[in-house]
């Protein structure tokens, strides 16, 4: 279904994971699926975030803020609550502990206070009542992971990691990583620890794998996808590449490993020089890019410096996979605060909105 080289030659592919059976066979314990609504009113999946999706704390904090500012809106509508997300997440993480662990200890592994998502890490750890650890707080002995506590070493069973694969274990991945835990992969391969999300999910997160997802659903589940994809040209294919190069000013070009709204070209908004620069890069390394039509993504009235105005939005619901698959009725709605902009990423001046699912 998926060409082998697209997995095996993927820079996110981790050969270290060969022969590893992860607990429960679950890799993407926490998934953030970005969804948009196009001009036909259809919801479409824009991309799958399967590495370390972030932003869930905004969902929770936005709701808290809205309830404080506009209590009358909530008394007049039946808005499904989202506050139980940390409980569901905690349950989910405990349910994927290595077999034989009766009362698993879960920790959240952060890169530290200087990470841009540190607030979310600290917030989630506090809400779940688990330790927020840095790499230096953990160590591996006899293929088991421990944290250093004031009462001595304490065994850890599940690591909800918020750092990338590359930094997890300096003995296996980047040797210069100061954020990871030496020997972590040994414990992982021995089945003594669960890492959520699993190592290597970056392959599925990759934008060049994304076009195959509907096919995967049909193949593995025997069902039709409920939410379709956005049409995607894979520039590794010659005819796709030719089409895209001829229509650059109309299309959105994305780097397959790009994140945070970087490494992309929005044709209609780009200058001629930007388009030419991208054209050169595409010709040099076409496999690094995909293209999608510029969608007339739906807008939402947004308070700006000049009163309410339409701004483009997308939605990221969070899917938790463990014993069950759970979605809390809400998600992160991101809004592009600049007029006409389609880039909703917070690193590029995007904002967020509270998202309601109404109960009937």
């Amino acid at each position: 279904m998926v060409p082998a080289e697209q997995v095996l030659c993927n820079s996110q592919y981790r050969p270290e994971m060969q022969g590893v059976d992860v607990p429960g066979g679950i890799y993407a314990h926490i998934a953030g699926i970005d969804i948009v609504r196009d001009d036909a009113g259809e919801f479409r999946v824009l991309e799958d975030n399967l590495r370390v999706p972030s932003g869930v704390s905004y969902m929770l904090e936005n709701r808290k803020m809205m309830m404080r500012l506009f209590p009358e809106l909530f008394s007049g509508h039946r808005v499904a609550p989202v506050d139980h997300y940390p409980d569901v997440l905690f349950d989910n993480l405990r349910s994927v502990a290595p077999t034989g662990v009766a009362d698993p200890t879960v920790v959240l592994l952060t890169a530290g206070a200087h990470n841009s998502a540190y607030f979310e890490h600290a917030f989630l750890a506090q809400q779940m009542g688990i330790e927020l650890v840095e790499g230096q707080d953990l160590f591996v002995r006899d293929e088991a992971v421990f944290m250093r506590t004031t009462q001595g070493p304490q065994r850890v069973d599940v690591i909800y990691r918020r750092i990338d694969d590359d930094f997890l274990d300096p003995l296996v991945f980047r040797p210069d990583s100061m954020l990871g835990v030496p020997g972590l992969l040994t414990a992982y391969r021995a089945g003594r620890i669960t890492i959520a999300n699993a190592i290597g999910t970056g392959v599925a997160d990759d934008k060049s794998i994304y076009p195959y997802v509907p096919e995967m659903i049909r193949f593995y589940l025997g069902q039709s996808p409920i939410i379709g994809n956005v049409h995607t040209w894979m520039l590794r294919n010659k005819e796709d590449k030719d089409y895209v190069l001829a229509h650059l000013p109309e299309l959105v070009i994305k780097e397959v490993h790009g994140a945070g709204g970087y490494g992309m070209l929005i044709g209609p908004a780009a200058t001629k020089a930007e388009i030419d620069a991208f054209r050169k890069q595409i010709i040099a390394t076409p496999e690094r890019y995909i293209a999608q039509p510029t969608l007339a993504v739906s807008t939402c009235p947004t308070f700006t410096g000049h009163g309410a105005a339409p701004r483009h939005i997308d939605l990221r619901p969070f899917v938790l996979s463990g014993r069950d698959i759970t979605i809390v009725p809400g998600g992160l709605t991101r809004v592009a605060l600049r007029d006409g902009s389609l880039v909703v990423n917070s690193s590029q001046g995007g904002g967020t909105k509270d998202t309601w699912v109404l109960e009937t």
């Binding site: 206070a113 330790e131 707080d137 506590t149 004031t150």
Partner: protein, 357 residues
């Protein structure tokens, strides 16, 4: 609790306490600077205080002479000097930020808003009024302490936080005494009459001025009256010696109180490896509790203080993270809080925001 968390909490409270101690010192000297004819005493007191706090070197790099206004600015607001009140409040906030999950939200918001207010104070075009500034610092420290006691669960995290506060206070008291010991050793310079204003600085810097007055007015009123008269009129030394001893008692009591608190808090966080630490803290407590002022005087105040500070520091070798660095500048701490370091880690520590050295 994670060892690193204990470490951050400990330093968080130490830095807040240190900011307050510095604010008191600045306040006391600032008041003194408003009095006529005290310029020399003031300069001398500033000099000896900065020496005792190991601030003199950094100050001399920046300024040519000990000038009160410059010293106040330096100690309060110097952004580049790691020992200033500004830097202490920043370090306290950074340590808190690293473990904000272990703090109550009230405590985190208190520390964070202290930092935000400080930044906006600094951002104003005109320099803040020193008197108002130190008053603000003291209030924020009081508030932080109150919120700590009022909202935190009485668990390890709380006790570690309190230990930080009391050890810093003991350290600071001992250092301030060291700065003024020249005036407090009876008989050392028999012919020299200490300046009463300098004493008031010492008492005020330890927030002991009112306490002292109240205690001694109630207990020996004539003595207090005589003292005041004698100081103004250069009366005989023998009486002076008495009041020096009284002053000292007052200060040593403050030390004792600090150590008592440290000892009782330590017991709550005891673990297998901490018995040696606990023994030492108990020993220190006993040393102060059962000492007589006469013995301390016989030993000599400088030696007594030196021994006290050495004991305070020696805990570092016992891996409890109670680090009182020899210099006023702080040593990077690698607190393992009683646990043995296990396996070879990279040997780094994130001291960049933990301690500003």
């Amino acid at each position: 609790m994670l060892s690193r968390t204990a470490d951050h909490l400990y330093w968080m409270s130490r830095y807040i306490e240190r900011a307050e101690s510095l604010a008191r010192l600045v306040d006391a000297h600032h008041r003194m600077s408003l009095l006529p004819h005290s310029a020399d005493t003031l300069a001398k007191s500033l000099q000896s205080t900065m020496t005792a706090l190991h601030m003199d070197e950094a100050y001399n790099e920046r300024y040519d002479a000990v000038e009160p206004r410059a010293v106040f600015e330096f100690v309060s607001l110097d952004r580049d000097y790691s020992g200033s009140i500004f830097s202490c409040l920043r370090a306290a906030r950074e340590n808190a930020r690293a473990v904000r999950g272990s703090l109550t939200s009230e405590l985190w918001e208190t520390l964070n808003s202290t930092w935000l207010e400080l930044r906006s104070l600094i951002a104003r075009r005109s320099a803040p009024d020193i008197g108002e500034f130190v008053e603000w610092v003291k209030k924020r420290s009081h508030l932080t302490r109150g919120v700590t006691i009022g909202t935190m669960m009485r668990d390890e995290a709380f006790h570690v936080t309190r230990i930080g506060t009391f050890l810093e206070r003991a350290d600071s008291t001992a250092r301030i005494l060291t700065a003024h010991q020249g005036d407090l050793i009876p008989g050392a310079d028999a012919g020299v009459v200490p300046d009463p204003y300098e004493w008031s600085v010492l008492l005020r810097a330890l927030s002991a001025f009112e306490v002292y007055r109240r205690v001694y007015r109630d207990v020996i009123t004539p003595f207090r009256v005589a003292q005041l008269l004698i100081l103004r009129d250069d009366m005989p030394r023998s009486l002076l010696r008495c009041c020096v001893a009284a002053l000292l008692r007052c200060c040593v009591a403050a030390l004792l109180r600090c150590c008592k608190e440290v000892y009782s808090n330590l017991k709550s966080v005891a673990n297998e490896q901490s018995s040696e630490t606990e023994r030492r803290a108990g020993e220190m407590h006993a040393m102060l509790h059962f000492s007589r002022m006469e013995e301390i005087t016989a030993l000599g105040l400088p030696r007594f203080l030196e021994q006290f500070l050495t004991r305070l520091r020696s805990r570092r070798s016992h891996r409890v993270g109670f680090l009182v660095a020899p210099g006023g500048g702080l040593s990077p701490c690698r607190c393992t809080f009683g646990t043995k370091p296990v396996t070879a880690t990279s040997g780094r520590s994130n001291t960049a925001y933990k301690v500003c050295t």
